[in-house]
Symmetry: C2
Subunit: 181 residues, 2 copies
Amino acid sequence: MLAALDQVRQRGIAGVRAAEVAKSLDVSTSLIFYHFGTLENLIVEAFRHAAEADLARLREIMAEGGAVAKRLRAVLDWYAPTNKADGWLLWIEAWAGSLRDTELRSVAQRLDLRWREAVVALIAEGVGAGEFNCVDPRAAAWRLTALLDGLAVQMVARDGAVTAAECTEWLEQAMRHELGR
Amino acid sequence: MLAALDQVRQRGIAGVRAAEVAKSLDVSTSLIFYHFGTLENLIVEAFRHAAEADLARLREIMAEGGAVAKRLRAVLDWYAPTNKADGWLLWIEAWAGSLRDTELRSVAQRLDLRWREAVVALIAEGVGAGEFNCVDPRAAAWRLTALLDGLAVQMVARDGAVTAAECTEWLEQAMRHELGR
DNA sequence: CCCGATACTGACTGTCTAATCAGTCAGTAA
DNA sequence: TTACTGACTGATTAGACAGTCAGTATCGGG
């Protein structure tokens, strides 16, 4: 499954070959079909696994406590494309895959929704605590996360159009805009 | 080429079959290889064609004259994922394809850069004319377009997570934030 | 120690498909 | 008429690959 994710990163979803996955694990191709039935299953399970790992990380961050602003910062930093670009490869693949594969779509969508809910909740909490100044937490959260998705595309699928520094700076500015002085 | 784009929309880049393209044009598969040499060439040419069409449309909008705000609105409306979602299918495919195919990447990147340059220029012009109030036009333009890319993913690769109305409203708010008091 | 289950494999197979190639045909120039 | 070109095709091929199946090895519980 980890091996399948590696393959997705290297060749794309449609480029995953049972033989390659098997080779990288030093097992027979038959074993893959023994466990997953079809290649498509393997890929969906692999994405599900990746999504669960990300969600576990999210819960971890949320549980850390501290000021709302600190937690929000931590969540957005993890989500931001400045580091861990490898993870973004996967999710951009998943977007394209979601255009056709409904199962993949629901896996990706679930992860996505959780992140956004977490951001919405944090912003709302911050507003309640008087830390933030924001009329519509939901809208603000979705704008911020959509911005990050867009920046991720620039970072991962483009050659140096945007630097990591610009990326963080633009996020900073957007946060100031959205969350008030 | 139009037929190839249809195939990309329906099956994804990796799902394009010479036989299918040929059938939809009612010609032999041989003809495709006669003209394009390889399937990959066909696909890159098809994307190039789509990109040129979009750029032509951009030039058209830019040439229309009128107030800066009106032109900017027209550009962003065309770029926005609320209508013409079909076009977005193509470019999300292109993002994923760009992760591995350098030729495709350069085609997509070129188009992308032009759009962003157009937005940067319009904002700068608006600032010059006193219509907008914006410290860093480049940053504002990239944030707005990245936001649109992110919203496009939501509209196209997700089931009803975001409505078209929310999408336009959030864009409105972002524009107000970025361009004016 | 046996037995059933579970994990795993190697050898196949049927299918799909990009690419090739030899050749047809309509047009055109000399 | 002849020579030649460019567009196009039908038939074919060679390779790739998902999935199957008939087994073998391993192991834990009775």
